[in-house]
């Protein structure tokens, strides 16, 4: 079977941090049910959303992700009793911080996808991929990574001249 790929100008990179018991299994179910969704997502498996450190999200954006998905078990379904409840608080706070420093939260999606919700996994991934595709690349972090200057204020012509003389 060969299907023509739909052409887009930009294909976003989506990183999904998921728990192994619910969302990873839900994504497996989407597979066994042969559902189709965009190939942009790369899945990182964690034992529990409770293990997902906010730094990973930051790191993913810095490594060139255009969108990040964090997904785990529905409240009450956590394999580890309460990991997802802790995660819910942590990310409620972290997204507010990211928003405050100027990250567009449309690039960051949180969801509960159970092992039975293959369809919801497809829906969440497709929606995020399409939304981020419309938004275009996550330029902010990429530009930041390209910038080498130490500090704007120090980079004066006088200093430059001094450097040149060395």
């Amino acid at each position: 079977m060969h299907v023509e790929k739909q052409k887009h100008d930009f294909e976003p990179k989506i990183i999904a941090f998921v728990c192994t018991w619910c969302t990873y299994a839900g994504a497996d179910l989407a597979g066994t049910s042969r559902m189709q969704y965009p190939a942009n997502v790369r899945v990182l498996k964690f034992p529990c959303t409770g293990r997902i450190d906010p730094v990973f999200i930051l790191k993913a954006f810095q490594q060139g992700a255009d969108g990040v998905l964090v997904s785990g078990c529905h409240p009450g379904d956590c394999h580890y009793i309460a990991g997802n409840f802790h995660a819910r608080r942590r990310f409620a706070a972290f997204r507010k911080l990211l928003e405050f420093v100027g990250v567009d939260l449309n690039r960051l999606q949180f969801s509960w996808v159970s092992a039975a919700e293959g369809g919801k996994w497809v829906e969440v991934v497709t929606e995020l991929t399409e939304r981020v595709r419309d938004m275009g690349p996550m330029q902010e972090f990429k530009e930041l990574a390209m910038e080498e200057q130490w500090s704007g204020a120090i980079n004066t012509p006088e200093l430059q001249e001094a450097y040149n003389q060395i």
Binding site: G31, Y37, F46, P47, D53, Q63
Partner: protein, 665 residues
């Protein structure tokens, strides 16, 4: 430098149809650290695993990545294969290119590119994998069973018969539970007491069973293989060792008119009593609330007449600590009552059935006591209000059950069968009586069950009316039952002499507080949650704790006994080895960095984090750090995400491994 082997599976055509597996192997083969990459039609087959083992040995591979189906499928298979080739199993990782790639994408180009990236990520991850030794935990080969109903009795006998010590704790003065109250049991109509009491006697006579009645679990500490249970043995006011069970005290007790709960308050008992004649142990208990001696300080008759001097008014609650390795929870059920519920409760009562104020509207258990030969009426079906024999009797099923508006949506599972049984018992005892049953559905699957139900209708002439009852009210000495027969679409009104409600099965009151002591989870009805609804139906998510009987959900006696034996088998499996082996995905504290803020302890859902003192050789305290008990740790990693300095790390999911994957993108 790592020598990583990558094995790309075709999965027949499941993967290779959309993913160019040869190209994946070729591209991955050029990645740094990859020493060997190949593809094969069925990696999980014998020859496939053989190929993997051969490559590990011949190529001297340090780590392997198998690109195949979901790790949930075959991670164990391939890790085992790696282990048999001499590689630590945790140096093998699975790249999921089937469920997460070939099956969900149709474009070959796109799917192949994605597969390469997925495998690349796992290659970077596996480089950071460490050798993890299997964790072993010592096992105390004694078991605690909580609850002395049929579930607890069965589990205790099975475990004890296997040669292990059992501690059985029962809240009431006697074991036996609800089954001891029943008259006859479906689908064979054999007398409940006849099959129950021998088992009760077996328990008390079993050399391996230590029985605590009139006792409750006060406190639970420890973890699988190593629990410390504190049991509160309530003051019985009678010395169990001295008492001979002669029963003289009960005969002489001047307080005689206390409703006996065992008889659903229909019969009466004295203040010093055994709940029923066949009680085990046959040692009375003093009901201090009603005893004159305890109320006024006078009387003391029972003590005076007791030959062996067993009555002891000074007795106090005692706390006993029992070390055990496994726990079977078999706390059973309570019946829903139609009485008014406190305001704000999510469970409602039935105002339309009179909130329990009509005396001849009784529940199924009360009917059992009426029908029981050892019951308050000696087995005669008589109305509680005036002692008359009811000639028209109405049974109503699904009272509380399957009634979302009353706060319970589940089916109580046993009522269809016991109501059918009740109609038969009724017909056997009141030959000229007529039984009517209002029912929503007849849910009677099970061996000989449907036949039994049909017999109630066809042979015993019970009239089954499909429909619910909207209202009951007292009219003279009759109870008017207003309902509908939806199969013919008419309103039905029956003037009954007695109404029996098949009320819902609910978890025991206080089930939630016991669950909190044990650290097990429960649903919003407070039924205990099994670890997996289908594949681990008797285990709790908390290791070393097992479920038996109705505390997990409504079930009948055969199911309860089966689950109890299954729980016992799980306990025996645990006890079969001296040491317990577990997957080494546990958190470890890096003591050098730990500053003892104990955020890890605060978030740990298992209570696995302890405080540990580090001392020098002179015994001076250097610092306090966190310590994760590997026997208790569930492996969720919440501690690591919370630790500010990342001084606690979850093996198998270290920051290094995860960051390596992110950086591979």
């Amino acid at each position: 430098m790592s020598r990583i082997g990558v094995f790309v599976c075709h999965c027949g055509e499941n993967i290779s149809r959309t993913v160019d597996v040869e190209r994946v192997a070729a591209e991955v083969g050029t990645m740094p650290g990859v020493a060997f990459a190949t593809d094969y039609k069925y990696m999980c087959s014998d020859p496939g695993q053989g190929l993997l083992k051969k490559a590990i040995q011949e190529q001297k591979l340090s780590h392997i990545v198998v690109a195949a189906c979901s790790p949930r499928m075959h991670e164990k298979t391939f890790r085992k294969a790696a282990e048999s080739a001499g590689l630590n199993p945790f140096l093998c990782e699975i790249a999921n290119i089937r469920e997460h790639c070939s099956w969900v994408h149709e474009n070959r180009e796109e799917a192949t590119a994605k597969a390469v990236e997925i495998v690349g990520m796992m290659v970077e991850r596996v480089k950071k994998n460490r050798v993890l030794p299997t964790i072993t935990v010592p096992v105390t080969k004694r078991s605690l069973v909580i609850g002395g109903g049929i579930a607890g009795i069965q589990a205790a006998l099975d475990i004890a018969d296997a040669g292990h010590d059992v501690v059985l704790v029962e809240r009431e003065p006697s074991i036996g539970g609800h089954m001891a109250q029943l008259s006859e049991t479906f689908p064979t109509l054999d007398c409940s007491q006849c099959i129950m009491t021998p088992k009760m006697v077996d328990v008390v006579n079993h050399p391996k069973i230590k029985l605590y009645t009139y006792a409750e679990v006060e406190h639970v500490e420890g973890y699988i293989g190593n629990f410390q249970i504190t049991i509160r043995k309530k003051a019985r006011s009678v010395d169990e060792d001295k008492c001979t069970g002669c029963g003289l005290c009960m005969e002489k007790c001047p307080v005689r008119k206390i409703p006996n709960q065992f008889d659903c308050n229909l019969g009466l008992r004295p203040a010093i009593y055994v709940p029923f004649p066949q009680a085990v142990p046959n040692t009375p208990v003093i009901d201090r609330e009603h005893c004159i001696k305890f109320k006024t300080g006078k009387c003391g008759l029972c003590q005076k007449i007791c030959g062996p001097g067993a009555v002891d008014y000074e007795q106090e609650d005692t706390l006993i600590i029992e070390p055990v390795g496994a726990i079977v929870v078999a706390t059973g059920f309570d019946l829903y009552s139609i009485t008014e519920k406190p305001k704000g409760s999510s469970i409602k009562g039935y105002g339309e059935f009179g909130h329990g104020k009509i005396p001849d509207v009784i529940d199924g258990m009360t009917f059992e006591r009426l029908a029981s030969a050892s019951g308050p009426t000696g087995g005669k079906i008589l109305r509680p209000s005036d002692g008359q024999e009811p000639k028209q009797i109405v049974f109503i099923q699904c009272v509380g059950s399957r009634a979302r508006e009353k706060g319970i949506s589940y089916c109580s599972k046993i009522c269809c069968m016991y109501t059918a049984k009740h109609t038969m018992l009724y017909k056997h005892k009141v030959h000229d009586g007529q039984a009517y049953v209002f029912f929503m559905d007849a849910r009677v699957p099970g061996k000989s069950y449907d036949e039994f139900w049909r017999r109630a209708i066809e042979d015993e002439e019970a009239v089954y009316i499909r429909g619910m009852v909207s209202r009951l009210y007292q009219k003279g000495n009759k109870i008017v039952v207003m309902g509908s027969d939806i199969s013919v679409g008419v309103q039905v009104e029956i003037e009954a002499d007695m109404v029996v409600l098949a009320t819902a099965v609910q978890p025991r009151t206080g089930a939630d507080s016991l669950a909190q002591k044990l650290g097990i989870s429960y649903d919003h009805y407070h039924f205990y949650s099994e670890a997996h609804a289908k594949l681990r139906p008797v285990e709790c998510a908390t290791a070393g704790i097992y479920l038996a009987g109705t505390c997990q959900g409504p079930k009948d006696i055969p199911d309860t006994v089966s689950q109890a034996s299954a729980a016992a088998a799980k306990v025996m499996t645990l006890f079969a080895k001296d040491k317990l082996e577990r997957e080494p995905i546990v958190a470890k504290v890096k003591e050098a960095g730990c500053v003892a803020c104990f955020y890890c302890k605060k978030v740990c859902p298992y209570g696995a984090v302890e405080e540990k003192e580090i001392r020098d050789r002179q015994g001076n305290l250097i610092k306090v750090v966190a310590y994760v008990n590997p026997g208790v740790c569930g492996g969720c990693g919440t501690c690591q995400a919370t630790c500010p300095s990342k001084s606690v790390e979850l093996d198998g999911y270290t920051d290094e491994q995860i960051v390596a994957m992110i950086e591979a993108l």
